[in-house]
């Protein structure tokens, strides 16, 4: 490399800039204007603190600058310039007063190689301290401060510090006050930072007995005994511990199971649909395990039937309703020597059938978690098969036709950052669900199954609303990454189960507004490790009204709310009122066994003996016309293969795919 050229560039930059300075402190910070500036060798005695870069390492020296924003603008601070090649820089950005600084942003290696790059939303009139430290390298370099317009298409976060004891894992409403709380856990304590109405947190520390299995791999939350206080599941390296909140919310009681489990993703979900939350834990090295609830919050251990690969490889379980039949299905992101993902369809009768190959979701991708959402607003759940190693795959749900690989041209074909976390949330409230995976990048859904990478300079983590402003925030350890928001509208829906489980986990929430119909499946446990808010969050874009919110509860009950106020939280309580005339539920049809031999059992709304049935092959030909008898259809005359079945009920035609052996 030509070492002369950079030298001349450095001189040029110095000449262009009035910002060059001798060694400095926060109190003597050099004022900055947008442009290039030369940072001398880092020798200033004032060590930048705290470390905003998440390295959790303080340096020995710092060089200090100060920038006062003259306008609201996106501020970029960068050392990511070719002339700095080979230098290892670190940047800290603070507000506050010297000696009492608060992190706004920090970056270590966000640029090429070991150079730094960060952006934050600058507020007119605010003073920002910008410090470079010598954590890695004391050599001087050239840096740059740039302004660009804030726009609604930008997703940005501002950092605030919290002080929690333990590993910060969860952002979930622990006390049912409609506000997401911060949860940190260690082997011997649970620290809940309860979000207060009007803002801020109240920290309560609950000592616990030493957990047999600390939450090394994942944390899930749910109210298994419906006592109004959330319980926790610790996914440990050699077993599973539950921390059950007592009835007055003053503490947690440990329940640890002796069974060896190399836990990965964990979830609370009502697996057997008896109205009580059960728990599911992916097993890394053996068949998956689950814990069934007897209705009083007492759990029993089970293993087998929900992903039985002898040597495991189960990493990211997520419970969603992929076939819109209003029962909850299980998708397992798999990794290791047998990385074929699995989809277990809920047959509606307590049994599950593995249907990955049948519906085209048996990708061989090394993945630790996959992000499910209706990315194209066509009424069914699509999935980003997020690679932990190798290439991502974006799979569009085409209903009875199964899933179609639409990676090409989606943005995921050129997005190389791999990660163990992939979670789907609408970070810009535009009604199109985005995906947060690796690379400090949110893949922003811009419609048409297309995603644009937006560099956010934060890491993925638990997602929820830490300031009740309707924009989703992210927890990175003791840093709250608060969403800068925009002018878009939103609606948050809390599902308060009564017949179904208390959290309404497994419910399908549907919101209809001018931009279309949005759906969410209420869940405990997405991504790989963290516990994100259970509240169903809907961005509304510029829509100023919601026509209708519908909750399809796991119990089968359907509740509809018309024209709710927006830009707030709507709590829908599961209610049965037989005075109201029954409405036709959305058509749903389930069939089993699948594959079937001679007889196919059909279940669904409005199905009765005598209903006409058509069997259609994959070329669209009607190969058989029959009627339902005793809830069954005779398919003994069919050749082996894949077919669609159409059932004609009064008012609707129900359709489903099945295989004949």
């Amino acid at each position: 490399m030509n070492r002369c050229a950079p030298f001349f560039l450095l001189l040029a930059a110095t000449a262009l800039s009035s910002n060059a300075t001798a060694q400095s402190t926060c109190a003597t910070a050099t004022p900055l204007q947008p442009g290039l500036f030369v940072v001398p060798d880092i020798t200033g005695p004032d060590v930048p603190s705290p470390d905003c870069s998440l390295n959790n390492q303080l340096a020995d020296h710092g060089e200090w600058y100060v920038y006062t924003a003259t306008q609201d603008a996106q501020v970029t601070v960068s050392t990511d310039l070719p002339i700095n090649s080979g230098i290892d820089t670190r940047i800290q950005v603070y507000t506050g007063t010297c000696g009492n600084l608060t992190c706004v942003a920090g970056d270590d290696d966000g640029g090429a190689g070991t150079l730094s790059f960060l952006q934050f939303a600058g507020e007119q009139g605010e003073t920002y301290y910008i410090a470079f430290d010598d954590n890695w390298d004391a050599d001087g370099f050239t840096a740059q401060l740039l302004l660009s317009p804030l726009s609604t298409s930008t997703i940005g976060f501002t950092t605030q510090n919290i002080s929690a004891t333990g590993s910060v894992y969860a952002l979930v409403d622990m006390d049912f006050d409609q506000l997401d709380d911060i949860v940190a856990v260690s082997q011997t304590n649970i620290n809940v930072l309860y979000q207060q109405p009007g803002g801020g947190f109240s920290s309560v520390n609950y000592p616990t007995t030493p957990a047999d299995y600390p939450a090394s791999w994942s944390l899930a939350a749910g109210d298994i005994d419906a006592n109004g206080h959330m319980d926790l599941l610790y996914g440990g390296g050699s077993g599973v511990t539950f921390m059950k909140a007592n009835n007055d919310g003053t503490g947690f009681d440990e329940v640890s199971f002796p069974n060896y489990v190399f836990s990965q993703r964990s979830n609370f979900v009502d697996i057997n649909n008896d109205g009580h939350l059960d728990a599911f834990v992916c097993h890394d090295v053996a068949p998956n395990v689950y814990f069934l609830n007897d209705g009083n919050g007492n759990l029993t251990f089970h293993q087998g039937g929900l992903g039985d690969t002898q040597w495991g490889g189960n990493y990211g379980s997520i419970w969603i309703d992929y076939d819109n039949d209003h029962d909850i299905d299980l998708f397992i992101a798999k990794c290791g020597a047998d990385p074929v993902n699995q989809l277990h369809r809920n047959n509606g009768d307590g049994t599950f059938t593995s249907v990955g190959p049948l519906v085209g979701l048996d990708q061989n991708v090394q993945t630790w978690s996959c992000a499910w959402a209706d990315f194209d607003l066509d009424g069914d759940m699509d999935v980003l098969v997020g690679a932990s190693s190798g290439q991502h795959k974006l799979m569009r749900n085409d209903g009875v036709m199964g899933f179609t690989d639409v990676t090409a041209g989606s943005g995921y074909d050129t997005f190389g950052a791999t990660n163990i976390e992939h979670a789907a949330h609408d970070f810009d409230n535009d009604g199109y669900v985005d995906v947060f995976g690796g690379g400090e990048i949110i893949m922003q859904n811009v419609g048409n199954m297309t995603f644009n990478p937006v560099s956010v300079s934060i890491y993925n983590g638990a997602v929820g609303d830490m300031n009740d402003d309707g924009f989703l925030d992210v927890l990175n350890g003791n840093f709250m990454r608060v969403n800068n928001g925009n002018t878009n509208n939103y609606l948050k829906v809390i599902t308060h189960g009564t017949v179904s489980n208390r959290n309404g986990i497994g419910a399908r929430v549907e919101v209809i507004s001018a931009l279309g119909t949005q759906i969410r499946d209420v869940k405990s446990g997405d991504g790989f490790r963290y516990m994100s808010s259970i509240t169903a969050h809907f961005g509304l874009g510029s829509d100023s009204a919601v026509d209708q919110v519908t909750v399809f509860w796991p119990s089968g009950i359907v509740n509809v709310v018309e024209n709710p106020p927006i830009n707030g939280t709507l709590e829908i309580i599961e209610s049965v009122d037989t005075d109201v005339a029954d409405l036709v539920a959305p058509p749903s049809l389930s069939v089993h066994p699948n594959p079937a031999d001679d007889r196919l059992v059909v279940n669904g709304s409005g199905i009765a003996s005598g209903n006409e049935v058509r069997i259609i092959d994959l070329d669209g030909r009607v190969v058989s016309t029959r009627r339902i008898q005793d809830g069954q259809v005779d398919i003994s005359s069919l050749a082996g293969g894949t077919y669609f079945i159409e059932v004609f009920t009064p008012g609707s035609v129900l359709k489903q795919m099945f295989m004949k052996r």
């Binding site: 390295n55 959790n56 080979g86 270590d108 290696d109 190689g113 070991t114 890695w136 090394s216 791999w217 440990g236 390296g237 050699s238 069974n259 060896y260 190399f262 057997n272 649909n273 008896d274 109205g275 097993h283 090295v285 069934l292 089970h302 293993q303 087998g304 039937g305 002898q310 040597w311 495991g312 290791g336 020597a337 047998d338 509606g348 009768d349 307590g350 049994t351 932990s388 190693s389 791999t418 990660n419 690796g438 890491y459 017949v499 119990s555 089968g556 009950i557 359907v558 509740n559 509809v560 709310v561 018309e562 309580i573 209610s575 049965v576 009122d577 037989t578 109201v580 029954d582 409405l583």
Partner: protein
């Protein structure tokens, strides 16, 4: 306004089909140790037995680990680190059958009924400053497959009982530097054994490859070549190559640093980071015969998962702080440490060696 709607009138109470739970529960108190004096007893149709003594692998007091005359002690050049536990290794094969060489880097082809025996213990255990044997692991060749069995020793050190459920044992011991140390020693569950001892879903041994066995061992009459002794004992078919591409003793400071590191990584990491192994999807390939190419060690290779809050390489030449390998082998965080299984303490001597090795690598990665 809430409009309740009943969509499905029937709530179906559903019960799951309970899966079969593959756990072994032994009524330990009912079992009487019954060694068969005079002969080693390995019946492929009934192994693994309930107790270690039933095999007759040792004579006299079980805890003396005095091998039956047919049973041969052996050692490997570089061992797996297991929280500083000491290990005693033995092998037994039925008379008239022997293992054959299958390649420097391949596990010997063992005959039916072979038993690989590895006992884990600590010395200077407190209180009492004595030896405490924790477990004996067997790999038994039965009906053409390897059967794994873990025997957990009782407090009296008189018997060890088959137990594949996994357990933790707190140990305090005085180490070789006279430092008092603590560990919660993990006796693995069956699924944990299988995690490392598998390839393509089939149970396999890891250690007994010629490259690990080609060393000297003192059988009581001075150091002799271990493989040669196996041949004399009738355990190994003669005619294996005179020159074997053997690993380097990781702690032999007279040896080449790079070779010591490669040897250490082979024994501690290659069982997961190899083809058809548990973590074969990561780019490293740590087997000895593959690491002459430093890319397989992760040199200047970016990890798939950046757990550090800055961009690291798996091995960043000259930069210990930005080497993911160093970070992970130095970590005791359950979800970050490497190896994931078999270690809860930091193997500081090895961490120091790998730091020294990283520091002398050049040029820098970027």
């Amino acid at each position: 306004m809430i409009i309740p709607v009943r969509a499905r009138t029937a709530l179906v109470i559903i019960t799951m089909i309970a899966g079969i739970v593959a756990c072994r529960h032994d009524a330990l108190e009912d079992l009487v140790p019954s060694s068969a004096p005079g002969s080693v007893n390995v019946d492929p149709s009934t192994v693994p037995y309930a107790t270690l003594s039933e095999y007759g692998l040792f004579q006299g007091a079980l805890a003396s680990l005095d091998p039956h005359p047919e049973v041969l002690p052996y050692d490997v050049i570089t061992p797996l680190f297991s929280d500083y536990a000491k290990k005693a290794r033995f092998v037994w094969m039925p008379s008239g059958s022997r293992a054959s060489y299958a390649g420097d880097h391949e596990v010997l082809a063992f005959p039916e009924r072979s038993v690989l025996i590895k006992t884990f213990y600590y010395d200077h255990v407190q209180p009492g400053d004595g030896r405490k044997i924790l477990e004996t692991r067997l790999l038994i060749r039965a009906n053409g497959e390897w059967v794994s069995a873990t025997y957990v020793w009782n407090a009296e050190q008189t018997e060890a009982y088959l137990d594949m459920t996994g357990s933790n044992v707190p140990i305090t011991w005085m180490d070789e530097q006279d430092q008092m140390r603590n560990v919660t020693y993990r006796i693995p569950a069956g699924a944990e054994c299988f995690t490392c001892h598998k390839q393509s879903g089939v149970t396999i041994p890891i250690g007994p490859k010629p490259r690990n066995l080609d060393r000297v061992f003192n059988y009581g009459e001075g150091d002799v070549g271990q493989l040669e002794k196996w041949v004399q004992h009738g355990y190994l078919e003669p005619g294996y190559p005179a020159s074997i591409d053997r690993v380097t003793a990781w702690d032999d400071e007279s040896e080449d640093l790079s070779d010591r590191v490669r040897s250490y990584l082979d024994m501690n990491c290659a069982h997961c980071h190899g083809e058809q192994r548990h973590c074969d999807y990561r780019p490293m390939r740590f087997a000895w015969e593959l690491t002459a190419d430093p890319v397989n060690l992760g040199l200047c290779v970016e990890p798939d998962e950046q757990i550090l809050p800055f961009d690291a390489y798996i091995v960043s030449a000259g930069n210990v702080d930005k080497s993911m390998m160093h970070y992970r082998i130095s970590s005791t965080e359950v979800s970050e440490r490497m190896p994931l299984l078999g270690r809860t303490l930091v193997h500081q001597e090895a961490v120091d060696m790998i730091a020294d090795w990283i520091l002398q690598l050049s040029p820098p990665c970027n």
